[in-house]
């Protein structure tokens, strides 16, 4: 290799990582990837040219992040090949990819919060001089890189206290210290203000000038147009097309992402009767900066979908309503106000939350199926605080039957179940006493096709029995297929509402992305979203 910047003696100090060397050329061929039986990528082939900025775009769950991570060596494909500079590679760890000059800057930043900026930048690539850290050389190199990426903080500042934008710069500097010639950035601008995002785009351009290849995974289409040389569109894990950015517009990209995949049959829920009473009334619900001034109603028997991009505030709104996080504003169920920030109170008033992550928030994974099902309404299976074994077995069996969970014995740990059955258990625990409001956050995430269908039918059935249902999903087809009404969230605000035939994939997507129509060149929409 021409430039070995990280010589242990630090001799090549003055050489900048990629200069004169050029970026890497990468091509992936026939990549397949499944997670828990759910397709993430199918037969994807993409070529990334040397020294270009290549954007990967698509809906939530289209597979763009997965593809980025596969290229960065952080995720291994099930099938298919990856070639770097014409040579087929198979990285067994991110470490090997780093050594080959590939770096990943993830959505979830990987700065060590308690370490200084300097130590973070040189993490794993510390300069040594006779076995000791060479502080002087590191400091000099740090200043050099700081200027390149526009990092203005001190070397000794603690990384955890820095703004996201600055932490990102630290990660970019870290990539450069390691001699990265290909940097995969996963949603780098999502958590930045408009000004910071623009600065990040400028840094990316500067890196391209120096010959670094950049893969830019983003759902901010205007950023993509402003930055990328080439755009690849993914949809449902499949590659739609790769074209020069100059030939794309926000419109053409959205159109390419759209289209229904006919994998599921969505049961059409019967509309709520016209005189159905309002069950949930949310007014001015605010928890800054996550969401602001959210107001809406849901009537009995109605399924309302909450659509929006990942990070738009959907989940936060749901948690705010349920009291999982404190929020200001008012939430009423059947006309009675909830005590904000108290899930216990919300449950007593008839609310139920099927949380986003069943593993972290929904189930005690090592406890039995039976214990998980009876956890919420233990009073139903107790007499004078004492558990009634027979009554519990009966109730649990009945609930498992209702959600059609396949469970060998209710005494088995819930961790031994498949994702789909786990999710059914997570739902079953709320049905021991019929709730008035069910909030289902990503109800079909990480479950197999069959279980998905069952969960759709269950939600429909619950609504038809008079429950108000608030459903959140990253899969827009799911929202469209099940909801009577769709609310679109962007930047923590409800920006659009679609009812009946007005709810179309295209209009929802447009509202979620913040594109207002052809010729939309202002950044206002996306600035809002931040």
């Amino acid at each position: 290799m021409a430039v070995q910047i990280e010589d242990s003696d630090g001799s090549a100090l003055a050489t900048l990582a990629p200069e004169g060397l050029g970026g890497l050329q990468v091509s992936v061929r026939s990549i397949h990837k499944r997670y828990a039986g759910a397709r993430a990528l199918e037969d994807v082939s993409v070529s990334i040219a040397r020294g270009e900025i290549h954007a990967l775009v698509g809906e939530n769950g289209a597979g763009k992040s997965t593809l980025g991570k596969i290229i960065a060596g952080a995720v291994a494909p099930d099938e298919g090949t990856i070639s770097v500079d014409g040579e087929e590679v198979r990285y067994r760890s991110p470490r090997e990819a780093i050594r080959a000059g590939i770096a990943l800057i993830d959505q979830e930043l990987a700065t060590v919060r308690d370490m200084t900026a300097l130590d973070n930048v040189f993490l794993g690539a510390e300069r040594r001089s006779g076995g000791m850290l060479d502080r002087g050389a590191q400091g000099k190199r740090f200043d050099e890189l700081a200027e390149r990426v526009g990092f203005t903080g001190e070397q000794g500042v603690i990384a955890g206290g820095l703004r996201t934008a600055d932490q990102q710069k630290i990660e970019i500097m870290r990539a450069l210290v390691r001699g990265a010639r290909l940097i995969v950035m996963d949603e780098p601008t999502a958590a930045l203000s408009r000004i910071e995002a623009d600065r990040l785009l400028a840094i990316a351009r500067a890196l391209r000038e120096e010959g670094v290849t950049i893969i830019f995974v983003s759902h901010f289409l205007e950023d993509v147009l402003a930055l990328a040389d080439t755009v690849s569109v993914l949809k449902d894990g499949r590659h739609v097309r790769t074209a020069p950015a100059a030939k794309e517009t926000v419109e053409t990209m959205i159109t390419a992402m759209l289209g229904r995949s006919l994998e599921y049959v969505f049961p059409e829920p019967a509309p709520p009767p016209p005189d159905a009473p309002v069950v949930l009334k949310v007014r001015n619900l605010t928890r800054s900066p996550a969401f602001t001034d959210v107001s809406f109603d849901i009537r009995a028997g109605e399924i309302v979908g909450l659509a929006g991009l990942v990070g738009s505030g959907r989940t936060e709104i749901a948690r705010g309503i349920f009291g999982a996080d404190p929020a200001s504003g008012t939430v009423e169920i059947d006309g009675r106000a909830l005590r904000m920030g108290s899930p216990r109170h919300a449950i007593r008033r008839g609310a139920a939350l099927l949380p986003e992550s069943r593993k972290d928030q929904g189930l005690a994974m090592h406890r039995s199926v039976a214990e998980n099902v009876s956890m919420v309404h233990l009073d139903q299976v107790c007499r004078h605080e004492v558990l009634q074994g027979r009554r519990e077995r009966r109730v649990v069996k009945e609930m498992l039957g209702r959600v059609q969970a396949k469970v060998a014995t209710p005494s088995m740990p819930v961790s031994a179940l498949s994702g789909g059955n786990q999710q059914k258990v997570a739902l079953a625990k709320w049905l021991v006493r019929q709730p008035k409001l069910l909030i289902a956050d990503e109800p079909t995430r990480g479950v197999d096709v069959g279980a998905k269908q069952t969960i759709y039918e269950l939600l429909k059935g619950l609504a038809e029995s008079g429950m108000a249902v608030l459903m959140i999903s990253s899969e827009i087809e799911e929202v469209l297929g099940l909801s009577h009404r769709v609310l679109v969230v962007r930047g923590g605000r409800i920006v659009a509402e679609f009812e009946g035939d007005a709810a179309q994939e295209e209009s929802i997507m447009r509202a979620a992305f913040g594109g207002t129509g052809p010729g939309n060149t202002t950044k206002e929409g996306s600035a809002d979203a931040r």
């Binding site: 899930p343 005690a364 179940l417 197999d448």
Partner: protein, 337 residues
């Protein structure tokens, strides 16, 4: 996004019966069964070995003696099982045990035996509640929190006694430790009753379920409407009460009190909990496990005595056993996740 959900699931949507099945179901199942009942097997084996190698072991006197000696640690261990399953730790239990004895010994001359014991237990209970409040409201790591509070409680004992040994002259003070019912010392009866009560609460009541839920997944418990703070506070209160009861037994037996941190007693009790198979990460365990753990450690100590082994090695053996127990837990965890 789908991208971020590597969830264990079978593509068919069927049931994967054994969590360790990814690496050969049989091996995983064996590890789980071993983990499940190892402590029972080990106690039985220890009994057989001791019975074969010592004539004294199976005598009524020896067995009652083992149980009597194990009673205070056993009571402490039952309470620590609560705290551990709830996902917390109580390092101050030993200090509370000693505080109870100090309070009782100091007050005995003025209020009499029964009342002074009651007040001693109340003092420990109060300390336990304070522990619970500190841990839940300030969100202090319970290990650190009870290390600190344990020091303070020990210091309080020192203030009360002025650093002196407090001797009790009343003959009745020792009744609890030396009198027997149906040939069995009161202390053993108290241990048995306390263990049964704990076992009942943990496995048969709503509160017991809450304890498992809070330790198993505190966020899921909170979102299920469980008052997770209250559960933890009560667990610490149980620990304080148990320390008080154990303290009464110790005090009655010795007839005197001296301030101290009692740290070695907590560690022994905790060892019994862990050896029994209660998971140190919370959410899994049982009182019967702890009872077997207590018995096992008591048997080892008894074995050293009966077989005239050099006492110097006892701690090394105990330490090794705890290590083995924790390693088994860690191993099974790696396979399940």
């Amino acid at each position: 996004m789908l991208d971020e959900q590597p969830v264990t699931a079978t593509p068919t949507g069927g049931v994967a019966l054994d969590p360790g099945s990814t690496r050969g179901g049989a091996a995983g199942a064996v590890v789980n069964v071993v983990r499940e009942y190892m402590i029972v097997v080990v106690v039985i084996v220890a009994c057989i070995v001791l019975a074969l190698s010592s004539d004294v072991f199976l005598t009524k006197e020896n067995i009652l003696n083992v149980l009597e000696n194990a009673a205070p640690i056993g009571i402490l261990a039952c309470a620590l099982t609560f705290v551990t399953i709830a996902g917390e730790f109580d390092l101050s239990a030993g200090a509370m045990l000693i505080l109870c004895g100090v309070v009782a010994a100091k007050l005995e001359p003025s209020v009499g035996v029964a009342v002074c014991f009651l007040l001693g237990i109340l003092a420990s209970l109060a300390a336990g509640v304070i522990n619970g409040l500190l841990v839940t409201y300030f969100r202090i790591n319970s290990f650190v929190c009870t290390l600190a509070s344990g020091l303070m409680i020990a210091g309080l004992g020192l203030v009360i006694t002025g650093g002196f040994l407090v001797a009790v002259t009343d003959q009745n003070y020792g009744d609890l430790a030396f009198n027997a019912l149906a040939g069995v010392k009161w202390s053993v009866w108290i241990f048995a009753a306390f263990a049964l009560a704990c076992a009942f609460v943990l496995s048969r009541t709503r509160f017991g379920r809450w304890v498992y839920a809070v330790g198993g997944n505190v966020e899921a418990a909170r979102l299920s409407g469980i008052n997770t703070r209250l559960v933890k506070i009560v667990a610490f209160a149980v620990s304080g009460t148990a320390a008080g009861i154990a303290g009464v037994i110790v005090a009655s037996k010795s007839g005197q009190a001296q301030a101290g941190d009692g740290i070695s007693m907590v560690l022994q009790a905790f060892a019994a909990v862990v050896v029994g198979g209660t998971s140190v990460t919370g959410g899994r365990g049982a009182i019967w496990r702890t009872i077997f753990g207590v018995l096992f450690l008591a048997l080892i100590s008894n074995g050293f005595n009966l077989l005239s082994l050099n006492q110097v090695y006892q701690q090394i053996v105990q330490g090794g056993i705890i290590l083995a127990a924790v390693a088994t837990d860690a191993l099974s965890r790696r396979r399940t996740v």
